[in-house]
């Protein structure tokens, strides 16, 4: 009887074993097989170098600099005490801190731990020579993104950093992984797919200690494409210096090709901070800085254009026939609307369209605006590309805002005549970006041919398809001739608003703007125009955020242009 019980229990035990074997080997076999493959096969990623970026003259804007990290492989260390005391001496770092970093970052016995990052080449040589004395010590070579011109090109170029989880999700089908370094803002982001190297790797079989048993395969990493930009770094530098740290923007564009020659937004930042792990604190400071140095004001800053908008008004008035060259309005220094007076800068007496532009007479354009009505103004503003992206090859461009009666209605309020007056002189709800203003200037200079602003010249050795004059406005060329006269008068006339720019060797057309902001703050200063003399015809815009009267913008423009002329660039 009891032997029978023993037998039953024995049979039961063996059935349990057999069932578990079937479960593990038959049903979960695939999973465990995968685990066994993972166990023995390691892929050591080889970073594909990012492409370099050059300016139009072949000068290096971004490159990859060799950097050296001190790494320790835990399982190879014989004498930890000796190793760290040696490291502490050579690197001049407290031994306790080194050990603490090592303990904190080690995960597995075979994975290298970066104890100190980015040491200089001389120290790296010293360590390399003494490596044999301290098993487990290795010097790892890395490539680090390097921006030789620092702040000067920051907003055009952008910066690089470790990919964030949202981006990985979005881009993982395109060869990006958790470890990828990607571009943020600027060209680095916009053309990331070209710049990015193709990651290679070495596949090895390892034993239980992680030591290589044999090489299974190797895929060489590929270098990303080099890019050449339309930027001229001399112009870039001159613009940066001319702004001298004040908040603002200078954009210069070849008005025939749409190539951006210079684009500086100030204050800037040093993109090198983002590729250096030791400068994490500075990174934090940049993000929190109330001056918003990371913001590219040229494409993301949205400001009222002020009197610069009068050029659009002139084209609108003339081509709709509401005004002609013979039309003249009397300026007593204000425009009376009901009980309210809309002011002008001076008492201009009788002004025609050319004078109105040259002297920037508000009253002339109040009258023009009243004749046009808000719908016409809106139509022409849109025609010149306000309220939409210029499609410049930079990420996250803003569109600005063009007010209209429809928009007002949507916000449940009415359009008043005063709004029309404000609209007419580029005040009120209208907002534009500096890059839109530059395109406006180029369009005016080319009598209605709208160029496409762009920054990329070549990818690798392939010249990038040029995008010039993609669109022609249906406006009579004679209209532009009149506007040109007015814009020239702003510089050439003795009462012109930008007389400072009447310099030898330049043939500048332009329009100043002093845009009112909130009552407690200073006005924005604008000068936008184009120069027709010299080797290149350029459209440009100088904008000073809360910079006061347009006079200051004109002065910055003067310094800037003079520098270019002295260096024989234009």
């Amino acid at each position: 009887m009891r032997l029978k019980i023993v037998r039953i229990i024995t049979v039961f035990l063996f059935i349990v074993l057999a069932l578990d074997l079937i479960y593990i080997q038959a049903f979960q076999g695939r999973k465990y097989f995968g685990l066994s493959v993972n166990n023995r096969i390691r892929v050591i990623p080889l970073e594909g170098q990012r492409g370099r970026i050059f300016d139009r003259n072949g000068e290096v804007l971004v490159e990859n600099r060799l950097s050296f990290n001190v790494t320790v492989i835990p399982q190879d260390v014989r004498n930890q005490e000796a190793l760290f005391s040696f490291l502490s001496q050579v690197l001049n770092v407290d031994q306790k801190r080194l050990v603490a970093r090592f303990q904190q970052k080690r995960h597995t016995p075979f994975a290298p731990v970066a104890v100190v990052e980015d040491i200089d080449q001389r120290t790296a040589m010293i360590l390399e020579e003494n490596k044999f004395r301290f098993p487990g010590l290795y010097i790892q070579e890395n490539f680090r993104r390097w921006y030789p011109q620092g702040e000067v090109g920051a907003h055009v170029l952008g910066y690089v950093g470790k990919i964030d989880s949202a981006k990985v999700e979005k881009l993982k089908d395109y060869g990006y992984s958790q470890q990828s370094i990607v571009g943020y803002s600027g060209i680095e982001e916009y053309y990331d797919q070209y710049l990015k190297g193709v990651e290679g790797g070495v596949q090895i079989e390892v034993n239980s200690r992680g030591q290589q048993v044999r090489l299974l395969g190797i895929r060489e990493p590929e270098r990303g494409e080099d890019l050449q930009l339309t930027i001229d770094s001399r112009i870039q530098k001159a613009a940066y210096d001319a702004l001298a740290g004040s908040h603002g923007v200078i954009v210069v564009m070849d008005l025939d090709s749409g190539e951006i020659l210079g684009l500086v937004s100030s204050p800037g930042f040093d993109p090198n901070i983002f590729s250096d792990e030791k400068r994490g604190r500075e990174k934090g400071a940049l993000i929190l800085d109330s001056a918003a140095p990371l913001l590219n004001r040229a494409i993301k800053g949205q400001y009222p254009p002020g009197s610069v908008f009068k050029t659009v008004m002139a084209v609108a008035g003339l081509s709709t026939g509401k005004i002609t060259t013979k039309t003249s309005f009397h300026c007593p220094g204000f425009y009376q609307l009901g009980r309210r007076r809309f002011r002008c800068t001076h008492v201009h007496y009788d002004q025609n369209i050319v004078q109105g532009l040259g002297h920037s007479c508000n009253v002339f354009f109040y009258n023009t605006g009243v004749l046009l009505g808000p719908d016409n103004i809106h139509r022409y503003a849109q025609m010149f590309g306000f309220g939409e992206k210029t499609q410049i090859d930079l990420p996250a461009e803003e569109v600005g805002q063009v007010p209209s009666r429809a928009l007002r209605k949507k916000n449940n309020s009415d359009w008043y005549k005063g709004d029309t007056l404000n609209f007419s002189i580029g005040q009120g709800d209208i907002l534009v970006t500096p890059i839109q203003v530059v395109r406006l200037m180029a369009t005016l200079a080319r009598s209605g041919q709208v160029p496409q602003p762009h920054l990329l010249k070549t990818i690798g050795d392939q010249p990038f398809v040029k995008l010039s004059a993609v669109k022609a406005l249906k406006v009579d060329a004679a209209v532009f001739d009149i506007v040109h006269k007015g814009m020239r008068m702003a510089i050439a006339d003795e009462h012109g608003t930008a007389r400072l720019l009447d310099m030898k060797g330049f043939e500048i057309y332009g329009k100043t703007g002093t845009a009112q902001t909130v009552p407690t703050k200073d006005t924005h200063a604008w000068f936008a125009g184009y120069n027709l003399s010299g080797s290149k015809r350029v459209a440009f815009c100088v904008f000073l955020e809360y910079g006061g009267s347009s006079y200051y913008a004109v002065r910055v423009a003067q310094t800037f242009l003079k520098t270019l002329r002295e260096q024989n660039i234009l």
């Binding site: 032997l3 023993v6 578990d20 080997q25 076999g29 695939r30 166990n39 023995r40 239980s208 048993v213």
Partner: protein, 368 residues
Amino acid sequence: MRRNIDILIWVFTLLIMGAGLIALYSASYHNVRVSNEVFYDQQMFAVVGILIIYLLSRVDYRFFFDAAYIFYGLNVILLVLVLVAGRHALGATRWFTFAGISFQPSEPAKLALILVLARYFAGRRPSVSLNDKDFHGGLWQDLMVPLLITGVPMLLIFKQPDLGTSLLFFGICFIMLFTSGLEYKYLLGLSACCLTALPFAWHILKDYQKDRLLVFLNPNIDPMGAGYTIIQSKIAIGSGRFFGKGWLGGTQNQLNFLPERHTDFIFSVIGEEWGLLGTLAVVSFYFVLIYCGLKIAEQVKDKFGMQLAIGIVGILTLQATINIGMVLGLCPVVGLTLPLMSYGRSSFMIFVIMIGLLLSLSKRRTIF
């Protein structure tokens, strides 16, 4: 009928030894961690072992009846000596070097325990009847003396420390008590005592023993430390799938991911390289062998023979199932070898002797 069982025992013993040698060859193939001497050693012992089985099968097992107490006494002395003068290895003193040969006294102690218990139960009740209710001798004689006999070597082995083997001793004792016809009330009482003692036993355990038990419950507590072995062993077995990765083709094995694979974890090598086919084959080998042992226990006509057969079958069953359960993660890692397959001279020789005894029992079971 009799001859059939003998032949089955011979065949399946040889099959198990053969499977063990095949796995050992692979486990030590061109490897720095496990020397291939392990294979040649075991091969030699297998040859010697077959000889011993043959010789023992011809010996009258009642010789062992006479020698039981002396053998037991000698073993207890050896167990004391090993604690005092034994070789220290892997954090435990289990080995003895005697005339140039090192061995583990806890292995012959298994045999000694079975013999002495079988003799004790036979002496207590020399009757042929198993269901004779008149022969109960009370708490002291039926339960306490056998427990004491078991307890002495068990404690000495626990002290080494070797938790697995000492628990195995208790298991054997329990099985033999059960088949000795001990009244159910005592069996239940004993089980109850053990259960209540469990929480106290926890405190006697060494830290690493506690770790092993905790890790058994959840290997991922410490995947690079105590849980490593179980995880790697399960990966090895599971990755073998249906037909295995082929002889010498197990990556877990050849690349040293499997620790202790020539001793306690030999079954994982079979699992990885021969797949479900191999593991079910090996499990069925053990099953047939054990089933034959049980058949002998049923047919043997004297009490000593029956208890001896049960003891042998019990130890085979416990070690085989606990070892396989251990590599599958069903039991904690307690360091019990897989009978006749794991490398280890003492263990191998003792199992060889046990098989020889089984055959000897089989030959003479119709004598009366």
